[in-house]
Symmetry: C2
Subunit: 335 residues, 2 copies
Amino acid sequence: MKIKDIGEFGFISRLASRCHQTLPEGVVGIGDDCAIIPAPDGRQYAISTDLLVEGVHFLTSEISGNDLGYKALAVNLSDLAAAGAEPCGAFLSMALPEDADVDFLDSFADGFNGLAQQFHCPLLGGDTTLSKQGIIINICVIGIRDGNITVSRANSQPGDIVCVTGALGDSGAGLEYILAPDKERDSTANALIRRHLHPTSRIEEGKFLARCKYVHSMMDLSDGLASDIKHILERSGVSADIELDKLPTSPLLQQKYGNSPSKLYHYALHGGEDYELLVTVDSKHFADLNVEYQKRFGTALYAVGRIVCGDPQHVNYIENGFGTMPIGSSWEHFC
Amino acid sequence: MKIKDIGEFGFISRLASRCHQTLPEGVVGIGDDCAIIPAPDGRQYAISTDLLVEGVHFLTSEISGNDLGYKALAVNLSDLAAAGAEPCGAFLSMALPEDADVDFLDSFADGFNGLAQQFHCPLLGGDTTLSKQGIIINICVIGIRDGNITVSRANSQPGDIVCVTGALGDSGAGLEYILAPDKERDSTANALIRRHLHPTSRIEEGKFLARCKYVHSMMDLSDGLASDIKHILERSGVSADIELDKLPTSPLLQQKYGNSPSKLYHYALHGGEDYELLVTVDSKHFADLNVEYQKRFGTALYAVGRIVCGDPQHVNYIENGFGTMPIGSSWEHFC
């Protein structure tokens, strides 16, 4: 049997069950965006790791060193945001071909460090080694949060409002231009590519939301809403109604694909790499929370649906208040 | 300029200087085997990470999944041992080709978990993704230690005894057999290969030594004594006399190469991947410490030389009490 026969999540569940150990009190392991271990003064460290492989996650012909350094850290900080944690430090492992260009690597360090400085996330260690093919980057980040935070993927309740912290789909649309370097790029295309390369870090938003007791579940959107929401639904044992016409999309995406709702839905649901937060909130308190959120951050929480009782494997997609739309399969490595 | 022109340590120092940030109190960054962050009750977390690449660190044709899982965790635990820390948990990132064999990966999980169970080091998280070529493994480990431990690579003082926790060179000699699969393997060769695949974890020894105030510096031997000791010498601003005929070698290695002292010295100094601890100890207290150490662990600390004043770039190698031996260059990636 090959890994493509069981898929990424099949492999993870196999690995997790073979490596199961009882965890000490205060430690939370596999299942959320971050693991949790106790920190001083009753606080908690949140820890996450992401592995990026040239040819799979990026093409050095299509990304500058600076953008790669920025993005490699940004996708990790996004996991801390989903745990409501403030960054403390990062560990950077790199495997490099022996002819890797030092100017590119200097530029990588500057991109990494620009974002690291912004969020006070110092480089604390790492590993450097030879690669036989392409650049490989693993980052492990550590953040800290209050000890009474309980937000997780497993706490969603029927009736919760499902919302996201920003427009979806730009990154996926930008990636399509990167993967087709011969396709003509106007200023809108370049702006979409920029959104793919420079996701907004939602650290402050995540900290605020995690502290609100009416926020039940939170995760970051890396694979696309249609795929990612299933993790919340499975862990919480619930289903969801998602209203397609409420999916927030940017003026950029609307400019490109505004005449084709199905294109907009496609990018918003499946584009991936938006790194916005997906949040479920007690419906009675959603309006008040959103007022406070907008006051603090100048942008809204976009309600896109509701948590309902039902089969976690099945999401009910609704268009203009009518019926159920069939929505294609989710993003998964190996399959 | 290419990375092979500046080498692994040239790249690390370039990266560290470009990413420099002032660290909060209680945080220790790049320079030792582990970074340190504060833990509850005045204790300290020690954190380290290692990246293993197929074709560079292992050949799947020459290692079982079980041995690979064991060794991938063992090399990380060795960094915790060098910091005197007890394991708390591990994060495992894997990039896998789409045709990776699930039986091999199950066996990997079992090898990993066997060692993880032994040292109460649960798998807390990770990342799984596609690889275009070969298996890539990154492990990040977290350990905990008392808050008053100050052992580091930077504390060696002239007069200190330089010692190691076990026989050196078996692993390097075993690797030579792995890299020459056609070379005939007798039972000694197979035992040397086993030493390469299953390094002894010195967690308990590291915890004991780190708590002793007469132990000034400690690190783990991954690249070979001749290369690794330079990190201690540079950080501490000292030099060392190493007595070649005191380098401990195993009966296995002596059986293979006992008629050639230069072969024994070669493997002991340059073989690499021994994962024993390299320790410098206040000479006045070395004998008492060694008695206590032998009582606890049933093996000795092997004194192999002394820290002296002098150029950190130059180690004085002595044979039978006479003269200086020229010893070849050290192991470094990219060069």
